[in-house]
Amino acid sequence: MTAPTVRLTGVGKRFRGTVALADVDLTLKPGITGLLGPNGAGKTTLLRILATVLRADAGSVNLLGRDPNAPDERTDIRRRLGYQPQELGFPRGFSSFAFVNYMAVLKEWSEREPRQAEVRRVLAAVGLGDIATKRISRLSGGQRRRVGLAQALLGTPDLLVLDEPTTGLDPEQRVSLRQVLAEIATASTLIISTHQTEDVAALCEQVVVLDAGRVHFDGSVQDLVARAAGRVWLADEAEPTAQTSWRLASGRYRNVGAHVPSGAELVEPTLEDAYLLLRGARARDDETVPA
C-alpha cells in the first residue's frame, strides 16, 4: 500500500472575514487527483496552501512527510515541488527559455550545463522546444500556460500542483498534456484544478469536489459517476422536474435529476452528470437550511 504524500486535517483559511476553506480533510497518494468546484469554491486557496505560498489559519498540513510551517522543512518541500499558479506572470522581455532557465536558477540548478539541459527537456516535454527563443509576450495564451507548466516540471517534482493547466489549450494540446502528466504521475503526486470534467475523467484516479470552502466529495472517479447511475435519461422534451436539461445535437434532451419519471430511457452517466447532480444536491441542501 502506497503511503500518503499529502495529508490535510481540519484545514481552514479566512480572508478579511470571508471563509475560503473550512475544515478540509484531504489525503493524497502518488497518482493524479482532480479538484472540481465552481468559481469561488476555494480551489485556488487550497492549491496555494499545497504549494506552500499560503499558510493555513487552522488545522494541520503535512506535505511529503514535512511541515510547511517550519521554515527548514518548507525549503525541503519546495525542493521536491512543482507549482503552476492560476494567474501566470512573466518578467517582461523574457523568452520561454530565459524564463524557465531563470526559474531553474531559483530551483537551485546552479550548474549551467545540466540546468540548460533540464530546461530543454521540460520545454520539449510541453511542446515548446522549437519556439524556445520566442518572447513570451508574443506567445498565445495556451503557449504561455505551457511555459508555466514547463517551469513546474523542472527536476521532475514529487508533488506537482497545477491550477487550471488545461485552460486555453486546444484539444490536441490537451491530449498531449494528458500524456505528459500521466507519465509523471507514475512516480509523483499530482493535483490539478480544472473546470473540465473530461480531463478529470481521462486522467484522475481520485476526484475532490469543493464548494464554498468545504469538501463535498472525495473518492474515486468511478464512485462519483456511480452516484449518477439511474439518474440520467433521454427524452423528447426537457423534463421540468429535472435538475438540469440540455438539448443534444440529435434533437433529444439529456436530463439529469434526482427524480426519474417512470419509463424514462436511462443512459450511462458521465462525470459531468455526476458533478452536476452533486452540485444540485448541495444547492437543495442550502435551500432547506433553516434561516
Partner: protein, 278 residues
C-alpha cells in the same frame, strides 16, 4: 603476415591524420600488407567516428546554448565581475527596476533635483531634501513585489530564499541609484551633501520590512506621505534641515537595522513576501 606491427600510438596518429609525412607513408605501406594492423585500423576508425559524433553532439549543444540563451546583460556581467556567483548575478539582473524605462524616470527626477540644487536657494535645499531620499526608496520598491514581478507566486514556491533575492536586488538598485544622486548632492553646501543618505537608506530598509505585509510600492507611498509631512512641517517651523538633527539620524539608523531584520524573519515565518494577489 609480418612479425612486426605498427606501434599503437603511431597507428592512432595515422588514423586521425596527424602523422608526419614520412611516418604516414611508412605506416600506409605496412598496413596495406598486414591483416592484424588492418583489423586495428578498423577498430580505431570506428572509435574515432564515435568520438566525432560525440564532439558533434557537444558542438550542437553549445550552438543551441548560444542561440537559445540570450547573452548576459551588461549589468549581469558587471555583477559577475564584482564577484557575485553567476546564478545570483542572473537573478539580480532580472529585476525590472534595472531596465531602461526606470532609469529614464530616475534621470528625469534627478534633473529636476539638480536644477533645484543649483539654484542654491532655501526652497532648492528643501526640495532636494524632500526628493533625494525617496529616489532610492522607490527604486528598491519597484525592484520586486507583485507590481514589479508578475511571477512572484511562482518565485514564492521555490527553495531559493526570497529574502536573499530581495536583498541582492536592493543592493544592486542602491549601487545603481545612490551614486548618481550622491553626485548631484555634491552641488549642495555643507553636511546636506551626504547626510541625506541616512534617511534614504533608512526608508529603503523600512520598505523591505513593511513588504512582509504590504506590497513594497504601497509601503514607499506611505513613507513618502510621512516624509512630505515631516519636511514641510520642519520647513514651516524653522528649516527643513531639522529632519537631519541627531535624534532623527538615530531613528534612520534604527530603521536601517529593523527593516532587513523584519524582512528576513517575516519571509522565513510566512514563506513569502508581500501579499500575493487574491
Amino acid at each position: 603476415m609480418t612479425p612486426y606491427h605498427v606501434v599503437p600510438e603511431d597507428l592512432h596518429d595515422w588514423v586521425r591524420g596527424v602523422s608526419g609525412s614520412i611516418a604516414s607513408v611508412s605506416v600506409e605501406q605496412h598496413v596495406a600488407s598486414c591483416r592484424d594492423c588492418q583489423a586495428d585500423v578498423a577498430t580505431l576508425v570506428a572509435s574515432t567516428r564515435a568520438e566525432a559524433v560525440l564532439d558533434l553532439t557537444d558542438v550542437w549543444s553549445r550552438v543551441r546554448d548560444e542561440i537559445e540563451l540570450a547573452p548576459a546583460s551588461p549589468v549581469e556581467r558587471l555583477l559577475s565581475r564584482l564577484g557575485l556567483p553567476p546564478s545570483d548575478a542572473a537573478l539580480v539582473a532580472a529585476a525590472p527596476s534595472l531596465r531602461v524605462p526606470w532609469l529614464t524616470a530616475l534621470c528625469s527626477a534627478l534633473l529636476f533635483v539638480a536644477a533645484a540644487a543649483v539654484s542654491q536657494s532655501r526652497v532648492g535645499t528643501s526640495l532636494f531634501l524632500l526628493v533625494a531620499p525617496l529616489v532610492p526608496t522607490f527604486a528598491v520598491a519597484m525592484a520586486y513585489g507583485p507590481e514589479a514581478s508578475g511571477s512572484l507566486e511562482q518565485e514564492s514556491a521555490v527553495p531559493y530564499p526570497l529574502a536573499r533575492l530581495v536583498l541582492l536586488r536592493t543592493a544592486a538598485v542602491l549601487l545603481a541609484s545612490v551614486p548618481v544622486v550622491a553626485v548631484v548632492g555634491l552641488l549642495l553646501p555643507g553636511r546636506l551633501s551626504w547626510l541625506w543618505l541616512l534617511p534614504a537608506i533608512g526608508f529603503t530598509a523600512t520598505v523591505l520590512g513593511l513588504s512582509v505585509w504590504i506590497p513594497p510600492v504601497r509601503a514607499a507611498v506611505w513613507i513618502t506621505l510621512v516624509w512630505v509631512v515631516a519636511v514641510s512641517s520642519a520647513s514651516r517651523m524653522s528649516t527643513a534641515m531639522t529632519v537631519l538633527d541627531g535624534r532623527y539620524l538615530v531613528l534612520y539608523c534604527l530603521l536601517l537595522i529593523a527593516g532587513p531584520t523584519t524582512l528576513v524573519l517575516g519571509s522565513r515565518h510566512f514563506g513569502t513576501i508581500g501579499r500575493i494577489p487574491l
